[in-house]
């Protein structure tokens, strides 16, 4: 589904060029949940941002079903990849329903009735329909997370990227998010996320990549069996 080939990312920070990602190559399978783990500053979020082309100046290729993301129009890209930010980034001046409806209206140019139906259908799926008229500031972290997922799904993407999705969630909301992501996966959506929450990672992931200092230091397909406790992923999972 997603092929990253020889990905390099160098960012300029205060006139200093800093290597963020170094020769990252990986293959993310369709309709699976793939997780990037690793210490802070390792490059997990940067990798997700490259996949969403929020960082465009990377070298190498990121292909989704063979299509280079850089050649897609904003509309095509938004219909292919959805992104849920660590801080959600909901639009604070819009209600929950408007947050989900507005991208549909603005990007897909459909009628208001169709956009509203679609938005409510997604909110229903995520258990947020009753909060449709609330503003983001009136919701808890877990509820904002669900709205952020609903908004990311509004344009019907095939891939959903989530950056540290459990960082603002209590254990119960975190468990509930696991169920939501697994259900989305069953509908054919490919999910890629970064996380520090190892309980969550163990519960949700099909495949895990360990990112360290901008390189993929280890990878493990959980369907192939238990993680070797001496491997980098095994050590990280057991110590966090």
């Amino acid at each position: 589904m997603i092929h990253s080939k020889n990905l390099f990312l160098i960012l300029q920070q205060k006139k200093i060029h800093k290597k963020i990602l170094h020769d990252i190559s990986c293959h993310i399978k369709k309709a699976k949940i793939t997780t990037f783990i690793g210490n802070s500053g390792g490059g997990k979020t940067s990798l997700l941002k490259c996949m969403a082309t929020l960082y465009k100046d990377y070298q190498g290729d990121i292909l989704v079903d063979g299509i280079d993301l850089k050649i897609l129009s904003p509309k095509e890209r938004a219909q292919l990849i959805g992104f849920v930010f660590q801080q959600f980034n909901l639009f604070p001046h819009m209600t929950v329903k408007q947050n989900c409806m507005h991208p549909i209206l603005s990007v897909l140019n459909v009628s208001k009735t169709i956009a509203e139906e679609k938005a409510l259908e997604i909110l229903d799926m995520l258990g947020m329909r009753e909060h449709q008229n609330s503003y983001p500031a009136q919701l808890s972290g877990g509820q904002q997370q669900r709205v952020a997922i609903a908004r990311a799904l509004a344009l019907g993407p095939q891939v959903l990227l989530l950056d540290e999705p459990t960082s603002a969630l209590d254990p119960q909301s975190s468990k509930s998010l696991q169920d939501i992501l697994k259900n989305l996966c069953k509908t054919g959506i490919t999910i890629v996320l970064s996380s520090h929450d190892m309980t969550f990672v163990r519960g949700v992931s099909d495949e895990v990549y360990f990112v360290e200092a901008g390189v993929i230091a280890d990878a493990h397909d959980l369907a192939q069996g238990a993680v070797n406790s001496e491997s980098k992923i095994g050590l990280f999972l057991n110590h966090n």
């Binding site: 992104f83 991208p103 603005s106």
Partner: protein
């Protein structure tokens, strides 16, 4: 006796004072229109996300000049010097509107620029991943949030603008202050006349202040002000 005389003077002067107030409102509305349209535009262009090298320096210089020189001097330049330079004659009304409007552009632009720069980068990123065009991002997402955030400062600027219209009395436009001065020249009762004028200005600026308070309350009701992003 004095009170009765003062009251009678105000009643007799009311038609003229209303006429002056109407002229003041016209100048203020013209100035507000120029100030808001160009001020918001310049403020957006000058924000850190949208700065254009070259144009940005020109606009910086414009803002420096407008904020760094007295509005009275600007008015004299527009009314007396501009006709010599461009070969066009401006009426006191046109000169007043242009001066007041383009002076406020500098202040409104700086207020808007501050508001734009205060918007969390994540809002821009969210628009990008959702496939919004730049005009849609600005119109639907960024500018509405900026306006809410800068509303008190913006309304402050508009209130100052209304009061600054009194300076146009110096080039002979029959606005509220000039009419008051003319009435006082005949009646020789400065306390009564200038207090009456002050009340007129207070009434006009109070409407703006109340409007601002109403809008702020609306935004608070929507829970926007509690957002922590």
């Amino acid at each position: 006796m004095q009170t009765h005389k003062s009251l009678q003077l105000i009643i007799d002067s009311l038609p003229l004072l209303f006429q002056g107030a109407c002229m003041t409102i016209q100048v203020a509305l013209g100035g507000i229109a120029i100030g808001l349209v160009f001020g918001i535009l310049v403020g957006i262009i000058q924000s850190k996300k949208l700065k254009i090298f070259g144009l940005s320096q020109v606009l910086d210089f414009y803002i420096l000049v407008m904020r760094g020189t007295p509005i009275y001097v600007q008015l004299l330049l527009v009314y007396y010097a501009l006709p010599d330079i461009l070969g066009i004659n401006l009426s006191p009304f046109a000169a007043g509107v242009i001066t007041i409007g383009f002076n406020s552009v500098a202040y409104i632009a700086e207020t808007v620029r501050g508001g734009m720069n205060a918007i969390f980068d994540g809002q821009w990123d969210a628009c990008y991943v959702l496939g919004y065009s730049l005009p849609a991002t600005l119109y639907h997402i960024i500018v509405p949030q900026v306006i809410r955030a800068i509303l008190p400062g913006l309304m402050n600027e508009l209130i100052v603008l209304v009061k600054e219209t009194s300076i146009i009395s110096t080039i002979g436009l029959l606005e509220l202050t000039k009419i008051g001065t003319n009435i006082n020249a005949r009646a020789l009762d400065p306390i009564t006349i200038y207090l009456a004028i002050a009340l007129f200005y207070l009434f006009m600026t109070s409407i703006l202040a109340l409007g601002a308070r109403f809008l702020e309350t609306r935004f608070l009701e929507k829970g926007y002000a509690h957002d922590t992003q």
